[in-house]
Point group: C2
């Protein structure tokens, strides 16, 4: 146990040296700071043979949009525990946590040195054909094995309490489900789309549907979510992808994680015309729609198979119920994807997919497409019966 103090490079080295079995006895260790220190300190600690680990320490505040918000360091515990549990159910695609120190709020974890952030790669027009299949596997396994299908009531309730995570959930409740639908000072709206953003504040039909999705986020603890599964929380290389950054984890609706990732693929799809020339854009968009389709098809196939084979609760073994459950997850995921599109366009936390489009006219056009599709996904989520219909909506939007 170490008392809390903000780590400097030497502290990160001492922490890694004390808790990692990876380094030999006479290793010479060095540390490189990897983060901008806005939310966390992140160091790569490496010996002279090139063996390395990551030390990630939660800071007691967050700096967003220039402001400093106090923020619980308990999120380091949540992150470590969610990753450990998810890794139990999907070791292939969850980063490995070696050690967590609750006093220092620091995690020692696997260094994914050769991996890159998915968002950056997609924005650069890279394509990875294993993305959808691997993330579908991650989603199906982590969500199924932490659900009522397989957990006893007693165990599930205890786990719900262990992962309440009220402060981090509040950030999502505010930034995703509330701010974009009001004239809130935290919003970040470009002048060129101000009129369309204002429409959101008075769109009573849309606000009612977002309220239903928010109510589900508040009170539908179906499974232990990652809670922030955008394309910046996924590391990827040519063979494999791995999920990191689980500090938003809590028990929530299964459709939220699925929808977050789906939404980020669609966001990149709509940003493509601003990021690539016409030929590359067309290829990238075809790739993204294929991955979105595969993500849902393979997720639902694996989740169905797990429900069929592994369900412990005798009532939840009903095949008709299982089919209805999955249809509801699809509808939720579609709605949550729509929320992600909207909040990334007019809310506080924007994404490089759009922000890095240098041509202001193209950027505005992309943003309008994102807002429009976001609304359609939310409003039509109960009428779309499968992923093909959803993707047709996306295609139709674009040529609109």
């Amino acid at each position: 146990m170490t008392e809390y103090k903000t780590f400097k490079a030497d502290d990160a080295i001492a922490f890694a040296d004390g808790h990692s079995e990876l380094f030999g006895e006479h290793s010479k260790l060095s540390a490189e700071e990897m983060s901008d220190g806005e939310l966390n300190q992140v160091f790569r600690v490496e010996n002279d043979k090139g063996t390395s680990v990551i030390v990630k320490q939660a800071l007691p505040y967050a700096r967003w949009a220039g402001e400093s918000w106090p923020l619980t360091t308990d999120r380091a515990r949540i992150e470590a525990e969610v990753l450990k549990l998810h890794r139990r159910f999907c070791p292939e695609h969850t980063v490995e946590v070696h050690y967590f120190d609750p006093e220092a709020c620091a995690i020692l974890m696997e260094d994914l040195k050769a991996y890159r952030i998915l968002r950056t790669e997609l924005n650069a027009g890279k394509k990875f054909n294993h993305l959808a299949a691997q993330m579908a596997k991650y989603l199906a396994n982590t969500l199924f094995y932490t659900s009522d299908f397989v957990m006893s009531g007693e165990n599930k309730k205890a786990e719900v309490a262990r992962f309440l995570n009220p402060e981090m959930c509040l950030i999502t409740e505010d930034l995703v489900f509330t701010d974009p639908y009001f004239n809130h000072e935290r919003n970040n709206v470009e002048h060129s789309i101000l009129d369309k953003a204002k429409n959101l504040w008075h769109d009573e039909a849309l606000k009612a549907e977002v309220a239903m999705l928010k109510a589900g986020f508040l009170s539908k603890p179906q499974a232990l979510l990652h809670g922030d599964l955008h394309s910046g929380s996924i590391f990827i290389d040519e063979q494999s992808c791995k999920v990191i950054d689980a500090e938003f984890g809590f028990f929530g609706p299964v459709g939220f994680d699925v929808g977050s990732l789906l939404g980020n693929l669609l966001l990149n799809y709509l940003a493509s015309p601003g990021l690539h020339d016409a030929a590359d854009c067309s290829e990238q968009q075809a790739y993204l729609l294929d991955q979105a389709e595969q993500l849902w098809l393979q997720f639902s196939e694996t989740f169905s198979e797990l429900m069929r084979r592994e369900t412990e609760d005798p009532m939840l073994e009903s095949p008709i119920y299982q089919q209805k459950f999955l249809q509801q997850v699809f509808s939720d995921a579609t709605g949550y994807a729509g929320c992600e599109l909207i909040r990334r366009t007019v809310g506080l936390a924007q994404v490089a997919d759009i922000v890095t489009i240098s041509d202001a006219g193209k950027r505005a056009e992309c943003q309008l497409n994102v807002l429009k599709l976001g609304r359609e996904l939310i409003m039509q989520r109960n009428d779309l019966s499968n992923i093909s219909q959803l993707l047709n909506l996306v295609r139709y939007q674009q040529t609109d």
Copy 2:
């Protein structure tokens, strides 16, 4: 603090004397045992001037159907804390808890000496015109003020954890939502209805709908429920009714409490032909349908008014959302009422409404009507748009 030992009359007197402000210094106290000691010890402690309190102590086991089940005494804490919280939001219709001792698992509470158990009164053909209005007020206030409409995320999550109540929830999960749909040894099926009970085990469409209702019971913490609001948990006199016995309390779907009470009114309605002669039956049934109607109408009116006036969450202020929420509560309540009808007919815990019908033929006829209505309520719950349609279904059932 007292260490746990099973109270005898003298212990109950000492407990009441030590913690009640009601008795004067030189009171002579006596204690009368009120319970059969199957789940709890209940004593009335009284002084020579007729002032009295109730001492209720949780036993570390339950005796049901001759069997002894170990059962957490933590349910005494749950009961005391739920009643205190519900009393804050509806003091008129919640029994008052004076003191709770966590070591002795004992509660000192208001003695509702002049009140009688609602179930016994209804079975005797008594009518109380204040029942529906008062219980509607209790339900609307206790459920609204413990919901996401008004609680902050942080406070709500902490309260969810404080009232997890896994052991008591498991009893409901098993006895209400599972056993009746399987050939389970805990079931209690009269030979005369065995064929119809067997139908339940193979009714895949019904089991899928019950699975959805069970999934809601497991993972829909909308509000702090009483959790066992049948007509044996309500004390009544000529002016007022008060809710007792909240040891099943937890955060669950709003429709569960509403549906439990509604189901018990309908159960008594269907039992009436076996309990009363034709003229009395007709009057009692008219009374019960009126109360069922008023219960929903006044609950929904008060809950709507509270949503309109008191909602704190800006998204949940949406009037369209609020209307959809209430429609969902109606559908849930209808389904949970149906589950209550079925489990009281073929499950472990039966009720006097039916059991005391001495004519075996009439009893079987009532049971068949209860099973049939139970199934219809569950299957049609999303198609019924209001309480009139629900009551027409009840009337149609009876003349079928």
